[in-house]
């Protein structure tokens, strides 16, 4: 069967099981948009290429399937650089196809030419520039294989216009051996000897903590994790990338660690004698000052990426392997050993943990009257939503409040930009999430600063009938920066004020075909949420006018030890 390169590309995507892609056409990618008309793949036309990338990420994060985005050359391709960098930091499988000028024009500074494989080399797991039409099926299959196996990540396929127009005899690679990837061998099982050593350390620990990262979700290991946690009775913390990997409602869950983590999660790690790190990477936002982090803890570090072992903190036992497989190996190693009568009793450790939980729960000032507290909005959104609703956040204060005050009881219900901290992520990512899980309620909890960066994608949502719900915690500031300026720059506020009513978010929402709702006082919050939840035929935007000076607590200041965690001033006063 003879196909054009463009047809072969679309057919290859179909062969990979792609059912939806996000994109925006242009000159160089034009030939590929013709066979899309005849394809089974749903194409969602975005308003800006960054939106396509974040939508594909949101889709991938809730479905576990790779997200696919297509853009044209030059500025089309550079506009999707941020999503690639974001997906690289958060290990999200993302396939970007970018148009490129014809092979004969590459290097001549042709119209809309950009060396996008060069630009994205450091922020993709791998990228390809297709120079031979016969390579298309093999490269597409290789791209999906690389993006979805081992430590997942973004890949880019650069697709010159003349290759799209050339013809080839169709084939489809039937095995991994046909993909021409001699240097790509992702690890799977952990080394059994190391797994036994890890089991020994776990058996001997008196103050252990399971430090659970996003790798557990990537490995679809939530069930295995629960078995391990319940078998051992060890407390669990879930990082910002792992919220939902272990139910917040479970008595062993201590919540989120890190800069704005739960006091108990942060402190239990600090005082622990064994950290069992599963798919986490000792990020600076979790460890605080690394030399002062968990000083007495031995480290078991399980990660599918061998380069993470010892990158930040030396591991006593470092196991390269898939989290689900390694947890299962650990459980069998424990079974083989039988019940260890000499295993230390964790009761004193739990007693200490419960004291911390009682003394320093999450706290904000609930006092009546005045402005809407952003935390209260998150609590009311949570209480009015189904327990399996998907929550999406941008980056900043609202993201921390969402992570702190939502109750995540199911995996793949939390979508946010962790490592890269990409403002503007929430609106497009929520659209992608809703496309991936149309059966679920999808709430984006966004900041006013973030919303203004990518709000135009709500036009896409309306046009494509994707009924997402957006809650703007509108404090009229770039709130997290404002908080830092208040705390560390003597309240010298530099370039952080945005205004509560410029733009008018309700009018803006309506202009984009959404329902716009405003809540200006605490009494408005409940009815606004109720109304938003009653609408399911179009996107809804709720403008919550929140207390501009509310700060995120607890907080570990950048570069400080986690021992110096700062709680809310009211709690501080009470503790004294």
């Amino acid at each position: 069967m003879q196909l054009t390169g463009a047809q072969a590309l679309i057919k290859s995507l179909e062969m990979q099981g792609v059912d939806v892609m996000f994109g925006l056409p242009g000159g160089a990618i034009l030939p590929v948009y013709d066979p899309i008309i005849d394809s089974s793949i749903r194409h969602i036309l975005v308003r800006h290429e960054q939106g396509a990338g974040h939508m594909a990420e949101g889709y991938a994060m809730v479905t576990g399937k790779p997200g696919v985005a297509m853009v044209t050359s030059g500025p089309g391709a550079t506009n999707i650089v941020t999503p690639l960098a974001n997906a690289y930091m958060d290990s999200t499988p993302l396939i970007v196809v970018s148009g490129q000028v014809a092979t004969g024009s590459i290097g001549t500074d042709a119209f809309q030419e950009c060396d996008i494989t060069g630009v994205t080399m450091g922020i993709t797991k791998h990228n390809w520039l297709i120079k031979d039409v016969d390579d298309i099926p093999r490269v597409v299959a290789a791209a999906f294989h690389v993006a979805t196996t081992g430590r997942p990540g973004p890949v880019l396929i650069d697709f010159p216009k003349d290759i799209a127009n050339a013809t080839m005899e169709w084939y489809w690679p039937t095995s991994v051996d046909d993909l021409d990837l001699p240097g790509y061998r992702p690890v799977t099982y952990g080394d059994p000897a190391l797994v036994r050593q890890a089991a020994e350390l776990i058996r001997a620990a008196q103050r252990p903590v399971l430090y659970v990262g996003g790798g557990v979700l990537k490995a679809r290991a939530a069930e295995a994790l629960r078995a391990l946690a319940e078998r051992t009775g060890i407390p669990v913390v879930t990082t910002l990338m792992a919220r939902g990997a272990f139910p917040d409602s479970h008595p062993q869950c201590l919540g989120m660690p890190g800069m704005h983590g739960h006091y108990t999660a942060v402190t239990a790690m600090q005082r622990s004698d064994l950290l069992i790190s599963l798919g986490a990477r000792f990020d600076d936002r979790v460890t605080g000052k690394i030399s002062a982090f968990a000083p007495e803890a031995k480290i078991i570090h399980v990660d599918i990426d061998p380069a993470e072992l010892g990158k930040v903190r030396a591991a006593d036992v470092g196991i390269a392997g898939d989290c689900r497989l390694v947890i299962e190996e650990l459980l069998s190693a424990m079974d083989a050993h039988g019940e260890a009568p000499e295993a230390p009793d964790l009761a004193p450790w739990w007693e200490q943990i419960h004291k911390w939980q009682e003394q320093f729960p999450l706290y904000y000032d609930h006092s009546e009257g005045g402005a809407i507290k952003p935390q209260m909005v998150v609590e009311q959104l949570r209480d009015a939503a189904p327990s399996d609703a998907i929550v999406v956040a941008g980056v900043g204060q609202h993201q921390m409040w969402a992570s702190q005050y939502w109750q995540f009881d199911y995996p793949y219900t939390w979508v946010n930009s962790g490592g890269a901290g990409t403002m503007g992520f929430a609106v497009p990512a929520s659209i992608g999430a809703k496309v991936g899980r149309p059966d679920r309620t999808v709430w984006a909890i966004d900041g006013d600063g973030c919303f203004q960066m990518t709000a135009q994608e709500l036009v896409t949502a309306t046009a494509e009938q994707i009924p997402v719900k957006i809650a703007i915690l509108n404090n009229a500031y770039l709130g997290m920066v404002r908080q830092w300026q208040e705390m560390f720059y003597e309240e010298r506020y530099s370039e952080v004020y945005l205004s509560p009513d410029l733009p008018d978010y309700v009018k803006w929402a309506e202009a984009m075909g959404c329902v716009g709702i405003r809540a200006e006082s605490p009494e408005d919050v409940g009815p606004a949420i109720e109304k938003a939840n009653s609408i399911d035929d179009r996107p809804v935007v709720v403008d919550f006018r929140t207390d501009a000076f509310e700060k995120v607590y607890p907080m570990v200041a950048a570069g400080q030890s986690n021992d110096d965690i700062v709680v809310h001033p009211d709690q501080e006063a009470q503790a004294r």
């Binding site: 791998h126 690389v146 240097g183 061998p306």
Partner: protein
């Protein structure tokens, strides 16, 4: 890099070697050198020298020999990060004591009538070769162990060196005699 710097990299006369040699087999594909070099700069690792050429008849693979300043980053991290590059097929780590290393030097020297024979004699002693002769200049070539090249380069300092180019070292593991 002056010989003094070089000797620092090699640990001077007494210290332990502070460089390591990585012999990296890569797919011979467009951009692969850029991927390797980009990784080093992105992760803050220092390359001391680098040599690259195809290694098989069909030119499917190339071998990149990289001398890494191990003080810039733990060698393990360098290797692990390199290994993640999809085009990197295998990485051999060669400690200087377990490897044969060679390097090639081309150097052009200003020579007056008296110096010409001195330089030719020196080249002869080191087993080098005069590869180009001008009216008042010579270009000579020397291949050998890097330390030998260092010595030769040091001895040339008394003459006026016009241009000097070293290839960076290439290396393979020493063979087992047993």
């Amino acid at each position: 890099m002056t010989p003094a710097n070089l000797s620092a990299i090699q640990g001077g006369k007494t210290g332990k070697p502070r460089h390591h040699i990585l012999s990296v087999l890569v797919e011979n594909k467009a951009g692969v050198l850029s991927r390797v070099a980009g990784l080093f700069s992105r992760r803050g690792f220092n390359i001391y020298s680098l040599a690259v050429a195809p290694t098989d008849e069909n030119e499917h693979f190339s071998r990149i020999t990289i001398v890494v300043d191990v003080e810039s980053a733990p060698l393990e991290q360098v290797i692990m990060q390199l290994d993640k590059l999809v085009n990197v097929v295998s990485i051999g780590e060669l400690s200087p004591s377990e490897a044969v290393e060679r390097e090639l030097l081309l150097v052009t020297v200003d020579v007056g009538p008296t110096e010409r024979s001195q330089v030719i004699q020196l080249v002869g002693v080191f087993g080098g070769e005069v590869v180009s002769v001008g009216a008042d200049r010579l270009t000579v070539m020397l291949a050998g162990r890097p330390e030998k090249i260092d010595d030769f380069e040091g001895l040339l300092e008394q003459y006026t060196v016009v241009e000097l180019q070293r290839t960076g070292r290439v290396a393979l593991p020493k063979l087992d005699r047993h």
